[in-house]
Symmetry: C2
Amino acid sequence: MDRKANIARLKEIDHERVLYQNITALLGWDQEINMPESGVEGRSEQMALMQGVLHDKITSGEIGDLLDALGASEQQSSGDPSFSDMERGLIREYFREYNRERKIPKKLVQEMAVVTSKAQPAWVEARKSQDFSIFQTHLEKIVALTRETTECLGYKEHPYDPLIDQYEPGMTTSEVARVFSGVKKDIVALLGKIAEKGQVDDSFLYEPYDNKLQDDFGRKILTDMGFDFQRGILTESAHPFTTGVGKDDIRITTRYNEPSMSSSLFSTIHEGGHALYEMGAASPELKGTSLGTGISLAVHESQSRFWENIVARSDDFWENYYASLQGMFPDQLGKVSRDAFVRGINKVEPSMIRVNADEVTYSLHIILRFEIETALVNGELEVKDLPEAWNEKMREMLGVIPANSAEGVLQDVHWSAGLIGYFPTYALGNLFSAQFLETLKQEIPDYREHISSGNLIHLQRWLNEKIYQKGGVYTATEVLQQVTGKPLDPSHFSRYLEEKYTRIYDL
Amino acid sequence: MDRKANIARLKEIDHERVLYQNITALLGWDQEINMPESGVEGRSEQMALMQGVLHDKITSGEIGDLLDALGASEQQSSGDPSFSDMERGLIREYFREYNRERKIPKKLVQEMAVVTSKAQPAWVEARKSQDFSIFQTHLEKIVALTRETTECLGYKEHPYDPLIDQYEPGMTTSEVARVFSGVKKDIVALLGKIAEKGQVDDSFLYEPYDNKLQDDFGRKILTDMGFDFQRGILTESAHPFTTGVGKDDIRITTRYNEPSMSSSLFSTIHEGGHALYEMGAASPELKGTSLGTGISLAVHESQSRFWENIVARSDDFWENYYASLQGMFPDQLGKVSRDAFVRGINKVEPSMIRVNADEVTYSLHIILRFEIETALVNGELEVKDLPEAWNEKMREMLGVIPANSAEGVLQDVHWSAGLIGYFPTYALGNLFSAQFLETLKQEIPDYREHISSGNLIHLQRWLNEKIYQKGGVYTATEVLQQVTGKPLDPSHFSRYLEEKYTRIYDL
């Protein structure tokens, strides 16, 4: 076969793989939304079957032969000029995943599946009982298997490198450490200044708000953002998430009044940001391919946080929307001025739970997890010493100490599912979003007027052109360079927080 | 491999096949319930992929080899005594499906898929415009491909035989014609007697009823019937249906106030009957196998109709439930006596639309379709003459003539989807249900007191023991013989109708 036939065959395999991914996504979505309780056993088997098929597809001998014939290598993206950017991107991703997946023995994958299937109920039980010891041996096994995985995958500098690379291709432990260290210092300093000021009131956000009206308001904002309800749906679930069940079937979820009206509303907008990215990555060349999606978790998170924090928690945003929100909820907001409302939704307060953290302290929760994960993986920290290490870092960074492990080390599901290396992408998303904002300021100097006049679609179009429509064709590093002309620079995020919270807290 | 190893391997393949069937069922369910409009293209591709996998699985050379090694043949079920009944049933079903599917060329399957994918929107358009000509050429192609299919499958007596055999294994055209001819005569005679009496009032069923309260009431009855909400869910959809997404994940749907409160309630109970069958076919030996489901469409329909008509439209049933229904809807039912209510929900009136037909006229709608389908398939009737033939049969059997093709020949979706041979199972279900009732009367002489005291679970247990728990182990004919000691005898149904409507209409 010539190169043309080989790339055509790769695209064919890829399309079938995408269909299997879509089906797997539906199985996951349905499990959270509809499935009756006892369905879980059958669903696990259905999921395992699909994941097995996906594993076999990416590691097949045919993929190896095609990649060889196409001259794929680590440096492939600088390769054959007869290929389009999309085709080079496809070869790059298949080369990466094929080599990664082939290195992990099936036995290890299966062991991890068994261990995590037992670890998850143990974690639920441990959190409920506020007793880390119930989870400890499970986590020890997970960490041991994770270390074994890193040895199989290989690394140059740090055993954590292949873990973070899995979620954020191209990112390294030393690069994350570099950008996080600057951010950590800046945030701790900012928190110190905020602590000297009087606290803002946000009690009105915790009153009861009618779910149906909240839902109406969320849908109105999503529509203004450019969320296409012909190509997506919004439903309720225990934990908000976004999933792609098809190129024209993007599903987001939210929850109401847990713990406050604003956490519901900003969850909706956050997931809406993820959805816009997925909906935008749908040019004819990308549609139905594995590149028709966001390039990395960090870039994805930059979009959800861009819409949630930079856009929707801004004063400009509420200049347009506050009157209608107030009109919907006169009992709760009738006597709350717009200014007071904007301060309330931006209240900064060190607290225990990551998912409820404000925009300033959030990244510290992530940096804490990054420091702990790297220490666990390279053996500097043992699982049995984890609760103590956690509490010590909470005290050091946030000045608060969890009263029990449920609001401390046991609060997140990730580790029980074997997800180690995932957390950093949440904070990297913040850094990317602030860097994108800098470019937006230059290219659309009146962007704030667009926000304050409700012309959100103008921003969506810019993001679509710059980021969304590229899908997974270029690497995250390349996209950042294309959009901002620079590599990752954490100072943008520090400066963004500094400026915003100087206003909010009158520093 | 020895026989033990061969049967074990067949069970292994079968379990994987069931998982693919479950996944396919979820794709279908989700399309009706959640999927956004534009998701349809991707969903079609996902469905086609799963159906292709299922086709490849059932027609694989390995299945052929296993069936050979296991000595499978048409007479296999009388075979090897070392196998359990379940194992013999499994071999029987695989032998049947393998031989069937291998006979239909892939090209023909694909052609039918293409033709029906175009025929369905054409049917929607034709029905909307009340213009049969829009659908005619599509149906001509479907009938031609169906004839080609019957030639591939082969038949001894009638080309319709292999079509009905697909949905009701073992049933033949001549057997259906035999049982339908008796029933037709009896129903037409009964209708004549009813027509001479004054009509009952059912206008109170067409008033508006609160959906939430209807839903509550439906769930209460489902629970009393033994529907396990840990293993199943009830949601709303445009057309009520039941689907199995997993052995412990049985989903039913209903719709409210279209066209009346009773049509909603009896849809819920009807689908509940299907669900009880699916939930019951779950002994440890059957769970997760393709025999862990109802044996045939007619036996399935016998269960939905048993609960809907024989149980829930009986006077006994409302002796227990009417007070609570009346209490829920005092405005609509406060002045309606129980007697008047029971007459209302059993009103008999020849009408155009099958899905809204009463218990007496319903089977005539089916018999009409059977007569038309057999004539189309053996070439006695041409598609272009269909509307006229339809109207003539309506006049002859029901004494009414459709005003247009939307309420006539275009009312059902089945033909546009290529489903020819399916309709008879609906009426056969009525016949089975009445024959099962005869045995119930003998074995539980006080069954009516159980119904009138709300002890529905007593009936469910009997049906479970006699029918549900056997799943697909025995053929429909065998199950009927085991339960009633007789082959199919349509006189039970005629007698059941005669007795019931003599009371209702005071004949």
